[in-house]
């Protein structure tokens, strides 16, 4: 697990929830205030007929983007964590090596290729992008669930069993809470990657924040590109910092208790 480790800044200052709030406010301001920035974008693209993307409201695009990522994330978290739990139980043990191999192998699949392979079978629109996001987002979650559950020491589990806990109680009172930070790190990777990948959905006919970028690249209108890119970057930073803040509270709760 050497690779997936994040290096934390040496002085781990607890930002708390301030950072996600700042990014969130910036995101909201950008979504609502974009039409008023016409003069700025006019300076960027003086010759274009139109400098503000108007094919759809930015708030609608943001909503669709969040919907696609949210649906995919909900399904992946459910399926991924359940699969991770299933193969670490006694009955599902047979499947553990295969699932473990798949989860590490799946990391090598480029998201674009997954998306491109989903389109021929599912057609254009929102469905292929959701399926591609699910497939792609599943692997980090499964991998981290496995790593988290396997990282719980057998001594602790035996102690819990010896205390008279049922296997179910051991799972949801001991194993899952201890594995939670690692699982959450997997969810964070999965969702952050998916926010970026969802933008590619605009190339297969799904309408979301990738739309202005693709339209801008196709028409050579930089202002569109900047608008789309700015919003996606702000969204990614908001969500990522949310996870970061949540991880910090989780970690401090674990070390405190």
């Amino acid at each position: 697990m050497l690779i997936s480790r994040r290096i934390e800044p040496s002085s781990n200052a607890n930002h708390g929830w301030a950072l996600p709030l700042i990014w969130g406010v910036l995101l909201a301001a950008a979504v609502l205030g974009m039409p008023y920035l016409e003069s700025v974008f006019r300076w960027l693209e003086p010759d274009a007929r139109q400098v503000i993307y108007r094919r759809a409201e930015f708030s609608t695009l943001l909503g669709r983007h969040l919907l696609v990522v949210g649906v995919a994330a909900a399904v992946t978290i459910l399926v991924g964590v359940l699969a991770g739990i299933a193969v670490t139980r006694k009955r599902g043990q047979d499947f553990l090596p295969l699932v473990g191999q798949l989860a590490s192998l799946g990391q090598t699949f480029p998201p674009v290729a997954v998306l491109a392979l989903a389109v021929p079978t599912l057609g254009f629109g929102t469905l292929p992008i959701i399926v591609a996001l699910m497939l792609y987002g599943l692997l980090p979650i499964v991998r981290n669930t496995l790593a988290g559950l396997q990282g719980v020491s057998t001594d602790i589990k035996q102690a819990a069993l010896a205390m008279g806990m049922t296997p179910w109680q051991v799972l949801h009172r001991v194993e899952l809470p201890l594995a939670a930070p690692v699982i959450l790190a997997g969810v964070r990777t999965s969702v952050t990657i998916n926010i970026a990948t969802a933008a590619l959905g605009a190339t297969v006919g799904a309408s979301n924040l990738g739309d202005p970028i693709i339209a801008g690249i196709v028409n050579g209108n930089m202002a569109y590109v900047v608008q789309g890119a700015l919003l996606i970057a702000l969204l990614a930073l908001t969500v990522d910092s949310l996870f970061d803040a949540y991880q910090q509270t989780l970690r401090s709760r674990l070390s405190a208790s």
């Binding site: 800044p9 499947f95 021929p120 970026a196 590109v225 890119a229």
Partner: protein, 399 residues
């Protein structure tokens, strides 16, 4: 010895009969898939969606019976998993993989009208699923038999050669083959371009990553700033970064003619390379830093006690010991770059992504596959070969 080991434990799971549940369920799914889904579809030309055909129409009763028998044999063998039976299952899986192009040949012979030169056979859902499940079986068998990475790679390359031969010799009606033949030169050029872009980006980021990591070890303050900056960059979606680089570079190209002569422009290779390097830096720097930091201090102290100078300690002890982890970073970075370069096609950088986006634009799905499949293969090959290299360089042999 822990006390629990000394206790007489009633072995709950001591069943005399223990079938391999994984292979059993995989082969049952295979049976269901080939009978319920359609293995091929035929279209009169490249744009019109094709009509799907059932297994019975595609390969006839005889073929359907043959493949069902092969899968049933797999089921039977999975019920009694001895080592000999695992070997037999491996042989069966390989035979099925080898038979797939022949099944397609039979299907194209029966279903494709020779009077229509544009008519084409596409691979349907059942065939893709069959292929996928067979590869899963192969992974499972490899783990059970303890086959080395090299042996599996050799087996798969044999299968690949047979597929390539049958595709180029007999499967002229297959859509993928037609797409390939229509733009063969373009395909090889795009592949070369893809590899060039990836290797340039990775090459630059390896050197820059090493320098940055060495600087970071010296100046602790730099470490904090650099890592937060790189983490921040990584959060920005690739497509957005590619897009954002278009504007400033276009401005530079328009206003500084010298740089424009060097090939800097808003669209094309330059912004793609810059974005690729920016993305590759984080995994590279992170791994290089960890690799250099994790060399045990005992070893370094021993080297110091032996009278090695500081530079000797770095180049003769620290660096060689860090090399496997460093290569692990190169592997992750390169695999990521292979995927990102595909996105770079959107801003005109070329590479295999061109086929994906052109195909999506023209609603020609086979062209999309022509781009996506080589990218997937490229990523897998890079992953396997760099992984093997890191294994070989690990001090003390293989793990």
């Amino acid at each position: 010895m822990p006390l629990t080991d000394a206790l007489p434990i009633a072995k709950l799971n001591q069943r005399t009969w223990h079938p391999n549940a994984v292979l059993l369920s995989l082969s049952l799914v295979m049976l269901a898939v080939i009978w319920l889904l359609n293995p091929v579809s035929v279209a009169p030309n490249r744009i019109v969606p094709g009509t799907s055909y059932h297994l019975l129409d595609a390969v006839g009763w005889f073929g359907a019976l043959l493949i069902s028998l092969l899968i049933s044999a797999l089921v039977a063998l999975a019920l009694l998993p001895t080592r000999a039976n695992y070997r037999a299952m491996l042989a069966l899986v390989i035979v099925m993989l080898l038979l797939m192009p022949f099944g397609l040949m039979v299907a194209s012979h029966w279903l494709v009208d020779p009077g229509l030169p544009q008519a084409r056979l596409s691979i349907g859902a059942a065939s893709w699923s069959l292929l996928f499940i067979l590869l899963l079986c192969l992974v499972e068998l490899r783990l059970r038999l303890g086959l080395s990475r090299l042996a599996t790679t050799l087996l798969l390359s044999c299968v690949g050669v047979v597929w390539w031969l049958s595709a180029s010799l007999w499967l002229q009606n297959m859509a993928l083959v037609q797409e390939f033949q229509a733009r063969e030169q373009q395909f090889w050029r795009a592949t070369l371009q893809h590899i060039q872009l990836v290797s340039m980006a990775v090459g630059v980021s390896v050197v820059a990553g090493l320098l940055l990591a060495m600087l970071m070890r010296r100046y602790a303050k730099l470490q904090k700033i650099a890592f937060s900056l790189l983490n921040f960059l990584q959060t920005i979606p690739s497509i957005a970064l590619f897009g954002l680089l278009l504007a400033p570079l276009a401005w530079v190209a328009a206003n500084i003619p010298f740089l424009a002569q060097l090939g800097v422009s808003g669209i094309g290779t330059t912004p793609a390379l810059i974005a690729l390097i920016a993305y590759s830096l984080l995994p590279m720097v992170r791994n290089t830093y960890i690799a250099l930091e994790e060399v045990s201090s005992d070893t370094l102290e021993a080297a110091k006690a032996m009278g090695m100078r500081s530079s000797q300690r770095f180049w003769q002890v620290r660096f060689p010991l860090a090399l496997p982890v460093l290569l692990e970073g190169v592997r992750v970075t390169t695999v990521q770059a292979v995927g990102l370069t595909a996105v770079a096609a959107l801003i005109g950088a070329g590479g295999l992504g061109t086929f994906i986006f052109q195909g999506l634009g023209q609603a020609a799905m086979d062209m999309v596959l022509l781009g996506a499949i080589p990218i997937l293969l490229l990523a897998l090959v890079v992953d396997a070969s760099l992984g093997a290299l890191a294994d070989a360089l690990r001090p003390g042999g293989h793990e």
